[in-house]
């Protein structure tokens, strides 16, 4: 007798179709941009392809009229690194603090999470206005940094909540049993155990900052970060340069994510899979 488990239910095909559409929607546009960026000098913004080559990549870094790409990158990467370091430092410390119960912990938590809910663009305008009120000039390393932290810190904290939530108290107690000081316990026991979580927070901090648009737009001052430079480029550049840029930044993001995930995988493998 043919059992029903041998055949897939019709829902399988429906869900598979939904998934296929989703993947197409997610990667299709990216793929189009990727393909269109490798056109010859006659290339345009739409298909069909006109010629092949890396002309527009060369154009991107040599031509001043495509905007200050190199300058934007030299701001965006340091900014993303600063945001990453601060996000890790603050999220880990705050995660440790929330591990101990303290008065007002609940209220504080909601205050932190509220900044995730607040519309980023409005928040950015607010920060820009405040700097104006205090007579300070907005800049990528001051007001934009603060605006981005309002976005990355709640994320980092939520991740650390999940990480510390799974961390058994008995690790600390075992260390205490052995006579380790609290500082030694933190550095030699707690932080090494949660290292994969810390890497995740760092990755989030970096990419969220590197991508950030809404909060940065009104706070970056006279010089742009990369997403804002790209946006302003779309306003006045109508060449495949913009696609070349898209290709480059996407590759850069994938490299960053790849490095982080490999680091986490390496740690996990060291702790489980590999035979000595």
């Amino acid at each position: 007798m043919q059992t029903s488990s041998d055949r897939r239910p019709w829902t399988f095909y429906v869900l598979a179709a939904v998934f296929a559409v989703y993947v197409l929607f997610l990667y299709g546009p990216m793929f189009c941009i990727f393909v269109l960026s490798f056109q010859g000098p006659q290339g345009g913004l739409v298909f069909p392809m006109r010629g092949r080559g890396i002309f527009w990549f060369v154009q991107l870094v040599t031509q001043a009229d495509t905007g200050d790409m190199i300058g934007a990158i030299t701001r965006s990467i340091p900014l993303a690194l600063i945001v990453m370091v601060l996000t890790v430092a603050v999220s880990v410390s705050a995660g440790l603090a929330f591990r101990e119960k303290f008065r007002g912990a609940g209220v504080l938590f909601y205050l932190v999470v509220a900044s995730l809910v607040a519309p980023g663009y409005v928040l950015g305008i607010g920060i820009g206005l405040m700097f104006q009120v205090f007579g300070l000039s907005t800049d990528w390393w001051s007001s934009a940094l603060g605006a981005q932290l309002s976005w990355t810190l709640p994320f980092g904290l939520l991740i650390m909540f999940a990480v510390f939530g799974r961390l058994s108290r008995s690790y600390e107690e075992a260390a205490r049993d052995m006579g380790l000081t609290r500082t030694a316990t933190l550095w030699l026991v707690i932080l090494p155990i949660v290292l994969p979580g810390i890497i995740a927070v760092a990755l989030f901090g970096f990419t969220l900052s590197y991508d950030e648009f809404a909060r940065t737009l009104q706070t970056t001052g006279g010089t742009n970060t990369l997403p804002i430079e790209i946006w302003s480029m779309t306003q006045n550049v109508t060449s495949p340069s913009i696609y070349a840029l898209g290709t480059l930044t996407t590759i850069f993001s994938f490299v960053i994510i790849g490095i982080s995930l490999s680091a986490v995988a390496l740690i996990q493998r060291r702790r489980t899979g590999r035979l000595a």
Binding site: S168, E173, D177, G179, L188, R271, G273, A276
Partner: protein, 381 residues
């Protein structure tokens, strides 16, 4: 032994921040070099006592003495105790060898000496071949051995074990149980082992402390707890006993005559308390000392006998567990206790006892033991 591993709890009381009373006035003495089990259902306060001895909780009131010295307020390391955690708490980022050597780090012992000491205990627990593995690459039983090695490498005078066998499957549990017992004998230090499994406690421990609701119900030898329970609670919790009740008719010379519901007559011996005539008492009868006879073969009911019907039989290998429903006297209510006889296998099959049979259950006068304490204290399951 120099008594450095003696433990004494004096009036220990613990109330948590949320107001729950976990330990409600415990006095307890554990001899140096003893294997002691704290036994009780979850929430009875046994783990809290262990953690207070370790220094991971502070008693609200009372004193904890280790080797005669009050250790309340002392850091865990200063107490000479080592704790083995229920989930083992092995550091996942360190190898077996590093986990064990790590325990010596805070003592300021130099690296080479640390590894030498670690290797010695690794050999003791037979993990030499796995010394460079990471904890997650080990089986449950192997992880438990690492946890044990890590605890004893610091040469504690007291080893505290929090439900050490609960994470293992049945087969490993029995194996590790005897390994723990052997290790304790070899080291000669005090072991305090927390468990909720009765058979585990009586199998390993010299001293068993039965707890309920933050209090010690009975502290005695394994045999004392099992064969001579002090209270209805302990008799019920340990199993192996039937709890019955009666009213004292007469008492004296270590003997007591009781009358149960429906005029049943019981006799107890061996208790040295004078019992007031007319007082209601509970007593326990060992299940393996109850003899069953088909009712047809025993027309007259003597002392220490009940008429009953067989409701269930459970084959246990060397004996058969026979559950009985006592024939109720007019007006008698069904009690919450079940009445069980452990009938030797050969006897059970020779008598061809079947479910539904009417039987007479009887026992010798010496099998009954007087119980004191709350008659309505039932273990929570």
């Amino acid at each position: 032994m120099d008594g450095r591993g003696t433990i004494e709890l004096v009036g220990v009381f613990k109330r948590f921040g949320d107001g729950t009373v976990a330990v409600d006035g415990v006095n307890l003495k554990i001899a140096d070099g003893a294997y002691c089990c704290l036994l009780g259902p979850s929430g009875c306060g046994k783990t809290t006592i262990l953690r207070m001895i370790a220094g991971h909780e502070t008693p609200t009131e009372g004193e904890i003495l280790i080797g005669g010295e009050n250790v309340v307020g002392l850091e865990p390391r200063r107490r000479g105790t080592a704790m083995m955690f229920q989930n083992y708490a092995l550091f996942p980022h360190l190898s077996v060898r590093d986990n064990i050597a790590f325990a010596l780090r805070a003592q300021g012992i130099e690296r080479k000496e640390r590894y030498r000491a670690a290797d010695a205990v690794i050999e003791q627990v037979q993990l030499t071949a796995l010394a460079n593995r990471m904890p997650n690459q080990l089986s449950g039983g192997q992880q438990q051995r690492v946890a044990l090695a890590r605890a004893i490498v610091t040469k504690p005078r007291v080893l505290l074990l929090d439900e050490p066998l609960s994470a293992l499957d049945e087969f490993l549990r029995l194996q590790m149980r005897s390994e723990l017992r052997e290790m304790q004998k070899r080291l000669g230090i005090t072991f305090i082992h927390v468990t909720h499994t009765q058979l585990e406690a009586v199998a390993v421990a010299e001293q068993v402390v039965v707890m309920d609701k933050g209090r010690v119900e009975q502290a005695s030898s394994a045999r004392g707890i099992y064969a001579d329970p002090a209270s209805p609670y302990v008799a019920r919790f340990m199993g192996g006993q039937n709890v019955l009740s009666g009213v004292v008719r007469s008492s004296g010379d270590g003997r007591a005559a009781l009358t149960g519901a429906g005029g049943r007559e019981f006799e107890l011996t061996g208790q040295n308390r004078q019992l007031a005539a007319g007082s209601a008492v509970n007593f326990a009868v060992r299940r393996d000392e109850v003899v069953l006879a088909k009712a047809a073969a025993a027309p007259a009911l003597g002392v220490n006998a009940l008429r009953a019907r067989v409701t269930m039989t459970e084959y246990q290998g060397t004996y058969v567990k026979v559950t009985l429903a006592i024939d109720l006297a007019p007006g008698e209510m069904n009690g919450a206790d079940e009445f069980v006889a452990y009938v030797p296998e050969a006897d059970f099959f020779a008598k061809a006892i079947q479910i539904g049979d009417a039987v007479v259950a009887s026992w010798q006068t010496g099998s009954g033991r007087l119980l004191t304490g709350d008659a309505n204290a039932f273990p929570r399951h």
